[in-house]
Symmetry: C2
């Protein structure tokens, strides 16, 4: 028999888990809803498949709900029944209704095994292929339960303090707290978790409060973030936790002779893994939501670490609401633009054309939404309900009409849209978006460039001529301006200490990526040492949402006006993995799906580096010292580039070049 998979309406799996996860946030124990629209999965579904059979075969249809039946050439059967199909045309329809959760089917048969070849009836919209996920291939699998792995962990130390016990798990963790063998067997109390010791000991200000209720001497909590756990005096019990995670193997590796950098790489990887869940989360303590900008960066790190396609696909689906689109992704305009760009970049790194195809209509309707809200000049200007984020920065005015950074992201999104249109052989939209990109590029360079300041200014309407790093970084990163202006930006903005520094790892990603793009590697490695290294010097076991080198450790825990609201495990801190893989190991695709790629290793400040970069079809291994470079790849298409010399990389044959 052919392998079956659970099938559902494409998007419902992600929409369901998105609905659950976005409604899980609490502050202390209060429900704290997302500020954007959350769409649930469909309750009624219709799937179908038509095959001309040459020989009889059987079909058994299972559903995950009681209101389900199926039609075999017009005759209706109850879910659970087995029908023998006769040679000739067989038209099978599956129908179901499920109010809670989402309706799914599992069909066992030869030609009608449930899989991606089934289609969804859409009642007047466009019929599409059903959704599946390779985690749910067995009849006993339940797609309404996300398939995490669990590992029992125990505190590394415990301290009697303030009339209770403070447990330390040694590093940031995520999972369910478990009390067992408790005496007394019935008790109610509140446990306080902390990413820091200070937070766990400050009930009034800690984010995670867990109402515990012993029954029969036991209690298991919902899944939360913690390193420290403060338990008030409640008698005796055994205390541990179920560490909850998605076991995505690391395909990327990096080692150097610089132990601080190695540690940064490892902490970055751990930070990303903790946030790699139903989708890529922002952080695991507070929001635990999927945010477009945060996810966008996690994709790039993912391509150099786990290289898991499915988590990118899930995140992209989670980020986009159902039709009709009425607000930007997470209400943030920049996040909508990243969402579009991420589609092309996903294809470029993975070659997964099927996903682009399945989302293409949604991309078009996203662009229709975006273009319906531009100003008369075609520039994006903040509308009621929009959040212009760019970065946590006090240095620019986001209400100053159309701001430069947003136009740059929009311009890049247009370019990516055009490339996806080309992929879909949709010439009309390809031309449209190429011309929108080129028109917008001209406007950006005309309106925002300040000749005297040698910089793009934040806005053009106020006359403030304010310069921040953000738009200038995008200009470099997305190649939006002339060579001459690029050089002036580097000198007058990026390397100019008078232009306020970036304060978030989030925007450091863009800054360092841009600087590496133009060969300013020491700027990047210096920042790794000082900025990421700075967090480690404060005892960080995961990277933070924001970091101010000039502030004390405990001062750094504060954010949003609250002493512990800062997330200490924020995915956007994981960019060193991407930066080191792409620019130190130097491995990057030069055509979609790594059909061709280059290896431009760069020793930077290191004595030796070595590591691996995953590609869709294999691994590229790079080793470099001052004396030589060795590359070994189990995929075709590679070229080693050293200065102005190139060396073809033969699959499975080590290539060593003496320097």
């Amino acid at each position: 028999m052919k392998q079956s998979k659970w099938i559902w309406k494409a998007g419902d799996f992600e929409r369901y888990h998105s609905m659950l996860l976005h409604n899980r946030r609490t502050k202390t124990s209060l429900y704290y809803p997302p500020m954007w629209r959350i769409d649930g999965p469909d309750r009624n579904v219709l799937f179908y498949k038509i095959v001309n059979l040459e020989a009889p075969e059987t079909l058994t249809v299972y559903a995950n709900c009681k209101d389900a039946s199926f039609l075999v050439n017009g005759v209706r059967y109850a879910a659970g029944e087995t029908v023998t199909l006769m040679p000739g045309r067989n038209f099978i329809k599956l129908t179901a209704y499920k109010e809670s959760g989402f309706p799914s089917f599992y069909c066992v048969g030869e030609h009608f095994a449930s899989d991606e070849t089934w289609r969804t009836g859409s009642w007047g919209a466009r019929d599409t292929f059903v959704g599946t996920n390779d985690m749910y291939t067995e009849l006993w699998d339940n797609p309404e339960v996300f398939k995490f792995s669990y590992e029992r962990i125990r505190p590394v130390s415990v301290e009697e303090t303030e009339g209770g016990r403070l447990y330390d798990f040694g590093k940031e963790c995520f999972g369910k707290l478990i009390f067992e063998d408790a005496v007394p067997a019935y008790a109610e109390f509140t446990v306080i978790c902390g990413e820091s010791r200070e937070e766990a000991m400050d009930a009034a200000n800690a984010i995670v409060h867990i109402p515990v209720k012993f029954e029969n001497g036991a209690f298991t909590s919902t899944s939360v973030a913690f390193r420290y756990v403060f338990v008030p005096a409640v008698g005796e019990y055994a205390f541990s936790a179920d560490f909850e995670n998605l076991p995505l193997p690391d395909k990327g590796e990096f080692r150097s002779d610089d132990e601080l950098i190695n540690r940064i790489w490892e902490v970055a990887a751990y930070t990303l893994h903790l946030n790699a869940r139903e989708g890529f989360f922002d952080g695991i303590k507070r929001d635990r939501w999927v945010w477009g900008g945060d996810a966008y960066q996690s994709y790039f790190v993912n391509y150099y670490l786990m290289n898991d396609n499915d988590i990118v696909r899930r995140s992209q689906r989670i980020l986009r609401c159902a039709e009709p689109m009425t607000a930007h992704v997470n209400t943030i305009s920049d996040y909508t633009f990243y969402w579009i760009s991420a589609m092309w970049e996903y294809y470029f790194h993975t070659g997964d054309l099927a996903f682009i195809r399945s989302m293409y209509e949604t991309m078009l309707s996203t662009m229709t939404f975006v273009r319906g809200r531009l100003d008369a000049d075609g520039l994006y200007e903040k509308r009621r309900g929009d959040w212009v984020f760019v970065d946590w920065s006090k240095h620019f005015d986001k209400d100053a009409g159309p701001i430069c950074a947003e136009q740059m992201l929009l311009c890049h999104a247009y370019e990516c849209m055009a490339k996806c249109a080309a992929l879909m052989e949709d010439r009309e939209n390809e031309e449209l978006y190429l011309s929108l990109a080129s028109d917008l590029n001209v406007k950006i360079n005309e309106r925002y460039w300040d000749e005297e300041k040698s910089a793009f200014v934040d806005d053009y309407k106020t006359g403030n001529r304010n310069v921040t790093r953000h738009a200038n970084i995008f200009a470099l990163l997305y190649a939006l301006t002339s060579e001459e202006r690029r050089h002036r930006i580097i000198e007058q903005v990026i390397k100019n200490p008078e232009v306020p520094a970036i304060t978030t790892p989030y925007f450091e990603f863009f800054e360092l990526d841009a600087m590496c793009t133009i060969g300013e590697y020491s700027y990047m490695t210096d920042m790794l040492h000082s900025y990421w290294g700075g967090m480690l010097s404060h005892g960080a076991t995961t990277f933070w949402e924001e970091y101010f080198p000039e502030k004390s450790r405990v001062e750094n825990y504060a954010m949003y006006g609250q002493p512990y609201d800062k997330s200490l495990c924020h995915a956007w801190g994981a960019s060193p993995i991407y930066l080191l893989g792409r620019y130190a190991l130097g491995v990057r695709p030069t055509s979609p799906a790594y059909a061709t790629y280059e290896v431009r290793p760069n020793l930077m400040c290191f004595g030796t580096i070595e590591g691996k970069v995953p590609t869709p079809n294999g691994i590229v291994e790079v080793k470099m010292s001052r004396e030589s470079v060795t590359v070994l790849a189990d995929v075709d298409g590679g070229t080693l580039v050293l200065g102005d010399r190139t060396y073809p990389i033969e699959k499975d044959v080590p290539l060593t070049v003496t320097l």
Copy 2:
């Protein structure tokens, strides 16, 4: 304290109950899904209200779900808490998530009592007012449970037959079957219900099979339709039923000296009541769905019987899917056109402007959907996925390009849309729809009129010149053609026995309404006697989905190729109430909401008639014999019209005119 009501996102109450009811259909015991998209209610909601208080007051917020909290001027509280609000501006936000059912709030307070004055945050769409329903005003009410009434009923006879017992409840019923005091106390078997004796005794072909499972000697079924119930031999038990209904009082009345007509009126009223539930159903045995054309007619009967506004509002909301509209109402183009027309006609009969306002955006988007699917000439032509219904009739070809009857319904819908636009003071759309109506009217009269046949033909593309009653009836009913053509239609089509007769009470409604409009009353009363009287002569206790006078009783039970698939309690059989109220008692509004109305009583074939017609603000009572007419109304605005004489009707003063 001000009276509070449960509040929810407008439309969610109807959408939730619609989802439940449309997923309840079974054939034998197999789940039988609707063939159109069913949208569920929202899972996440945000409601808000702002009031400047002059004095402190308290606010208590309750929610029907655990994931709920509320913000008082930015400070979050748990649902269930009481907060004292201070004088000045108070901004209250309610937020909740509920996966199953739909999230609702109940707020107790003076200025913040939950009611229609609260608004729904829409995350980028248009904020609207919340939904409420006057059935749910107490904290212990549960809007997820539809408020039916129950009355215990017992069979009027029982017969031992075919190894079991056949119970007869004496007339068509709807409700839960109840077994009590059963010995043996545990048993499993299947009960067969029938609208007819024959159906109940034919397990292979009966629609309603009930799997019964005695536990502790008792069992209660889900709600189903039945008159006859066959129970196999299973021992002893007490058998009864809980008759389930919505207790809408009859405000309309009709009596004459013709007992057959009186009986028809009563059976019609009972038929409608059985179908008057969450919305107006088609029938109670088989589909139990809300269909646009069926509901459209029930509205008219309702205006002359219960005159309940809420059931019309609920039905209209149930019929229209969520945005985006991707298919016609029930997939049927004519039903979409009726849906639009029904809005104006509802306003005309009730004066409920608030409902039109709350649905106006939805009306516009419905029209956008409709107009996006017309042919190049602006005519409606069947598209993929559309069902052109018009009527169950074998006499015309619905695939013959744009057919005449559909254009006529569309034309009427344009006119009604224009009137609603005028109500909303939306001059642009008023003009647009007036001009669309007038253009379409010209095309109808140019393309479909056949001079030689003195009739509108069904289509103009095939050249078949086929004449059926349907389009010609619409031409009369909606005044779509000249006086001269109207007369020719009456003589050459309606009164022409060679044009196939209507076979459904559904289309008889339109035919008789049209005939009464033009004063052909005896055509109507003859049809009541023969057609509706014909069903009674077969022992009908409710009116049927379709009726062929030339067929036997049992032959008449068959439909859709199955011996008992015909519904014997079909709401569209209730039109005599409307016809007798409007044309015999002669009471009808002449301006919206009965601000002015006329009473044009007509004795027709009767010796005496008397009855009542409800209006939004009171009752109009009419009594007529060959000698005199008496009118008594407790509302202003009436005029008695007798021939060419008019008499103002003074409120609360009996007006008698001798003939």
